[in-house]
């Protein structure tokens, strides 16, 4: 009876997720090219993996990914926590403003990428106009300049996902029992001390959960950045997923890109697992 309920779900996941994953692992040991399916297939063993680990472009794209993940999450954590902390004062209308702030994270990342290219235009773009309104930097183009493009994608990602971290932090703040503060107050602890000894440690597990979600998502990031910069200029914003897409669907090096896909997946999975262990330890404390 129980299996009758669960079987369709498991079957579909096996067919659309696990079977492709296994096939992908198989392909990663071959020289298969999806645009030449009739070419004789050769077993390469670990050659694709060897090539991959000594490939400088892949290291460069990993570095770009790491930078993007680090800066976007750092900004989102700081901003998201600050916003949650303020919203937790429960002023009148805080529910309404929460909803207003939350909207960007529900939108289609690809479409967000499209319209930010418009906002970032050097002449007609409102972004440059507003920035130059406060301090005249003269002409600059966020997505055309190799030094600025990274900050463009970090900025858009932060705009989109700060509300996500904020919502999770807000849940954490609301879960702190009031008597802790009362007791601290009675003991004469300053509000600065209360913040560091009560608020921060108790919100930390929530914050770490938010970082986990954002970390996995941003490591996989594809849609928003493809539409915003398509990895450019040059390869300044070529994230691992974008590099993978080029190898797989533009250069059609299917076997090689399958190996890269395996490496990416193992990385996410491994790091996420270690992180979850760490998270559980923090929670237990």
């Amino acid at each position: 009876m129980a299996w009758l309920f669960v079987a369709p779900t498991l079957f579909l996941l096996l067919a659309i997720n696990i079977f492709p994953l296994l096939w992908n692992i198989y392909l990663s040991f071959t020289n298969y090219k999806a645009n030449a399916p009739n070419r004789p297939l050769r077993w390469l063993g670990l050659r694709n993996y060897e090539r991959l680990l000594s490939n400088e472009d892949i290291w460069a794209s990993m570095q770009v990914t790491a930078r993007f993940v680090f800066w976007s999450i750092l900004l989102q954590v700081v901003l998201g926590f600050a916003l949650a902390w303020l919203l937790n004062r429960r002023f009148r209308g805080h529910g309404f403003w929460t909803t207003v702030i939350v909207v960007p994270m529900m939108l289609s990342p690809a479409v967000v990428g499209v319209f930010w290219t418009y906002l970032f235009q050097p002449q007609a773009g409102i972004f440059n106009y507003i920035v130059n309104f406060f301090y005249d930097f003269g002409d600059f183009t966020m997505i055309g300049d190799p030094d600025l493009a990274m900050w463009a994608i970090v900025l858009v990602d932060t705009w989109m996902w700060t509300p996500f971290v904020m919502l999770i932090c807000l849940a954490g703040l609301r879960a702190i029992p009031e008597y802790l503060y009362e007791a601290a107050e009675v003991d004469g602890a300053s509000s600065w001390r209360q913040f560091w000894t009560i608020t921060v440690p108790l919100v930390l597990p929530f914050l770490m959960l938010a970082v986990l979600f954002r970390g996995i998502e941003n490591f996989k990031m594809f849609d928003m950045v493809v539409e915003l910069t398509s990895g450019g200029p040059g390869s300044a914003t070529e994230l691992a997923s974008i590099y993978l897409k080029r190898e797989a669907f533009e250069k059609w090096r299917t076997g090689f890109s399958a190996a890269l896909a395996v490496v990416l997946f193992v990385t996410v999975f491994g790091v996420a697992n270690i992180y979850v262990k760490l998270l559980n330890r923090v929670k237990e404390r």
């Binding site: 319209f115 409102i126 849940a171 399958a258 896909a261």
Partner: protein, 317 residues
Amino acid sequence: MSALDQARSIVEPTPFSRRLAAVVILVYALVSSIPLAWIVATSFKTPSDAIAYPPKLVFTPSLEGYVNLFTARTRQTPEYLASLPPPETWYEELVRKRNMVITGPSRFAGRYANSLIIGFGSTFFAVFLGTLAAYAFSRFRIPLKEDLLFFILSTRMFPPIAVAIPVYLMYRQLGLTDTQLGMIILYTAVNLSLSVWLLKGFIDEIPKEYEEAAMVDGYSRLQAFRKVVLPQAAAGIAATAIFCLIFAWNEYAFALLLTSGLAQTAPPFIPNIIGEGGLDWPAVAAGTTLFLLPVMIFTIILRRHLLRGITFGALRR
């Protein structure tokens, strides 16, 4: 006045800190709304207003963006235009002013319809299968339950491009490339993890005793599920459905790689709305506005369940 009352009044934020917080939040909310407000405004601009420098805050609204979004047009000589009978509709008149004639509908409506069909189709299946599985995970003893649940969640960690390579090959073999059915199956599978985890949380909250009482009264397990659990879980099922719908609606990577024409959804199409001499920004903005509007409305409906939805049920309120 007891000491506790006094202590509480110290813990409560002061009116001043409250007001300060309100001001900062208000500023953030307004600044972060500028991009969306600007896109909606751009959808009502003329193409020349849309690329004016400095950016135009005040402009005469025009529906040209929307007309361009839904029509295909060609440029004609003034002599040819003069030889035509007078325009019959307001939108034809608008197009003629730009020395163009409408040659037919654009592909946008079809792409939007694909988004709707694939979105609703996959949502239906994901929620249907998800409800069954979630009920079983919540109520029955299943061997390796925790591992299975984690396995279901882990399917969400695959980078979409990594899954896309073999799915692309598989769909090519099965003839599912660029079909609505193929996309519905794929999005159902992707959404299952979310739907199982969310629904399990909702069903866990319904006391077991309700069904047990019904079963004592002679209901079978299936009847109890249908007549007791489903009505109780209705709100949770609705919230889950909206989350699945939004995901399918927003998805881009699979749509880009696995569809090109017949089954293409709106997200890969919108950036390709080209006018004369580059992107037709008011038309792109109009498409964006029409595409994002339903999601904004759903966000407002969902606001109570948002936290739960975005954390796969790990956090509730």
